[in-house]
Symmetry: C2
Amino acid sequence: MTLIEDAKKGFLGKEHEKLATIENMDLNKFIRRIGNGKIVVPKNINRDTKLCSIGKGTSTKINANIGSSSKMEDMDIEVDKAKIAIEYGADALMDLSTGPDLKEFRKAIMKVSNVPIGTVPIYEAVVNKKGSIVDITEDDIFNAIINQAKEGVDFMTVHCGINKDLLSKFKETKRIMGIVSRGGTFLSHWMMHNDEENPLFKNYEYLLELAYEYDITISLGDGLRPGCLKDATDIVQVQELINLGLLVKKARNKNVQVIVEGPGHVPLNQVGTNIQIQKTICDEAPFYVLGPIVTDLSMGYDHISAAIGGALAAYSGADFLCYVTPSEHLSIPSLDDVKEGVIASKIAAQVADNALGLKSAWDKEIAVSLARKNFNWDEMFKLSFNSKKAKDYREKTPVDEDEMCSMCGEYCALKVGKDI
Amino acid sequence: MTLIEDAKKGFLGKEHEKLATIENMDLNKFIRRIGNGKIVVPKNINRDTKLCSIGKGTSTKINANIGSSSKMEDMDIEVDKAKIAIEYGADALMDLSTGPDLKEFRKAIMKVSNVPIGTVPIYEAVVNKKGSIVDITEDDIFNAIINQAKEGVDFMTVHCGINKDLLSKFKETKRIMGIVSRGGTFLSHWMMHNDEENPLFKNYEYLLELAYEYDITISLGDGLRPGCLKDATDIVQVQELINLGLLVKKARNKNVQVIVEGPGHVPLNQVGTNIQIQKTICDEAPFYVLGPIVTDLSMGYDHISAAIGGALAAYSGADFLCYVTPSEHLSIPSLDDVKEGVIASKIAAQVADNALGLKSAWDKEIAVSLARKNFNWDEMFKLSFNSKKAKDYREKTPVDEDEMCSMCGEYCALKVGKDI
C-alpha cells in the first residue's frame, strides 16, 4: 500500500503522524491532504528516509542539487556537499550527477544522507550510452528508473509533459534561449531525431506502476521552462503545465504521490501568476520551483536573485524551493557555494513562512527579537542560519561591552533606549 | 530659485533636462513631476553633485551608508568605502559618521564622491556634546544643519515627525524593540528628559527656510520605524507617517524638495501595504526605504533579506533603496561588506525595474540573455554586477571549450539545443 492509500483509509503510521505536529496542523486535515495529494511525503519503501512533508499549509521546504559533472568528478567533494547541505538545513537533496561514475556517486551520496533523495533518471540512461542521446532506447530509460527505484530513490524528476504536440508548438515559438532544462533537451533532441513520442509520456501508465510499487514520488519536470526572463510564461511553458495538470490527475488516481516542477527565470511581476496557474491547473499539487531567478544579470549572485524570487514564490503558494548557488551559469558549485545556496534558500523559506503567518516561523522571529533586545548574543547566533559567520562578524571588530556593537558604539539605539 | 521653482515655471537647466532622457521619460512629464514633488534631484547649490533623479517613473536608485563609529574611526577605510560603493553602482551615499572626528570624515568623503551626499545632522550635534544627548540645545542642532548646508550636503535626514503627541502614543504601545532609529532615539530621549517639543518639529518652518536657501532635499526620517518584524506597521509607525505626510505638504508649499523615509523590519506580506499607505498619505513623495529586512533571523546575511524586501518594495512603488550589508546588527561594515551590500541592493533595484517594465532594465536583460545564448562570456561578465567575481567563477573550474561550463559539461542544454 502506498502512503496515499493509507491516508484514504484515514490513518498513517506513527512516524508520519508526527509530521502533523511538526507542521502545527490538525492530524485529520494532514491525513486528508495526503489522501488528496495536496501534501506529499517522499519516501521510497526501500529506504529509511527522514520524513518531510511538502505541500499545502506546511512550512516551505528546500532542496539542494549536488552531483558530479563530466568536467568535475570528485567523490569526496560531492559527499561533503551532501553533508554540508544537510548541516545547513536542506530538507532534500537531488543527485544530478552526470559524470561517468554517476552510479557510484549516487550510492555514496545516499549513504551519507538521511533526507529524501531525488534524481533525474534519464541522466543515467544518457551517461550509460556515453552521451549519445539519440541512441538511447525506451528500455534504457526505464531500466534506469527501475535500477534507481530499487536502490531507494525517493523522488524522481520525469519530463512526461513534453509530447509531440508540445514540440510542434515549440517550433512556432520565438524564444531567446530555447530549451534549457537538461532532461528536457535530451528528450526533445531524442524525439526530433527519432521522430518518436516521448517514452515517459507514452508509457506514463507503466511509469506510475513502477512509482506505485516503490511508493516513489513523481516530480513532473518542466522541460520547457524559460531560460531567461524574456521567455517566461509563454505558450509552450503554459502548454506544458496544462499537460502536467492532466498527468497529476492520473497519478493521483493510481495512488502515486506527485509534485510539479516550475520555473526558472521569471520577472517578479509574473511570479505570483505562475504559482496561481499551477495551483489551479494542477489542482494544488505541491509546487517545486527552481529559484526562480528574477534577473538574468546576477551572475555570481544568482543565489540572491533566487532568494528574492523564491521568497515571493513560496509566499504565493510554492511549497518546495530548489536552491540556486552563486556559481549558477558559471561553474559547478564548490562546497562553499552549496552552503551559501542553502542558506539563501532557507532565508527565502523563512521570509515566506512568516509572511504566511506560520507559527513555526513566528516563534523563531519573536525569539531572535527578544534575544536582540536583551543583547543575548549567544541566543542570536544560535538562531541564525550560520552561527559561525554571525559570531565572526561580531568578533571581527571587538567592543568592550555586551550592550553594543562596533556599528553604533555607545550610540546604539537599543542601549540609549534602555536609559529612557 | 530652487529646482522646484524652476520646474514650476516649466524649464530646467540642460544638465537636469538630460535626466529625462536617461529615464526614458517625456521631458514635460519629468519637469511637471519635479514641480509637484513626485521626483527629486538632490543637489546642494554649494556642491557640484552628479545629478540623479529619484521618484515616480524613474529607475530605482540605491544608497550606501558609510562613516565612522565611536568604536572604529579610520579615515582611509571610510574613504575607500565611498569609492568602492560608487564603483559598484551606489547612486548616493550617506555619511553616518559618529566618531569624534566626524567633521573631517565628512569632508574627506565628500571630496572623493561625486554622487549626492546625505547626512543626519543631529549626529554632529550629539558628538559635539561628547555624547551627552540631553544637554544639546536647539541651536546645537540648527548650527549643525547650517554648517553642513554650507559645506554642500545634498540631502539631510531630519526626524521632524516625532512630536510630543506621538511620544505619548508610543508610551501606550507595546513593542518588543522600542525605538531603533539612532536619530529617533536621540530626539525622543532629549524630549522626554527635557519635557520639550522636538526642535525639528517646532522649528520646521525655519528648517525649510534653510533647506530653501541651499536647495537641500529634506529626507523626513522615520524615527519610530519598527526594529523587528513583530513591531511593523503599528500605531506609532503609521502615526509618524501621517505626521510626515502633513510635513511633506508644507515643504512643497515652500518649494523645498522632500522625500520620506520608511522601514526597516517588515514581514513580506506587509511590504506592499507600507508602500501604498506612504504613497497615499504623503501624496506620492519619493519613498526611501531601509531594506526592508523581511526576517530577523538573517544575521550575517541581512543583505539578502534586504534584497528580498527591497525588490518587492521597489516593485510596489518605493523609489530609493538604502542598502543593508552582511554585517548589519553585528559590526561596522568592512570594505567588502559595503561592496556586497551595494551589489545586493543593485540586484533588488534591477529586479523591481524589470518587473515594472522599465526599458532601461529590459535592455540589459535582453542583452545578457543574447550573450548567454551565444556563449559570449566577456559580454556576460561586462553586464554583470561584479564582473571579476563572475569571471573568477568561470575560471575556477576551467573547461576546454567556450560552449559549456563545468556545471553541465557537454550536457549543457544550450549546447545540445544548438545541435537540434
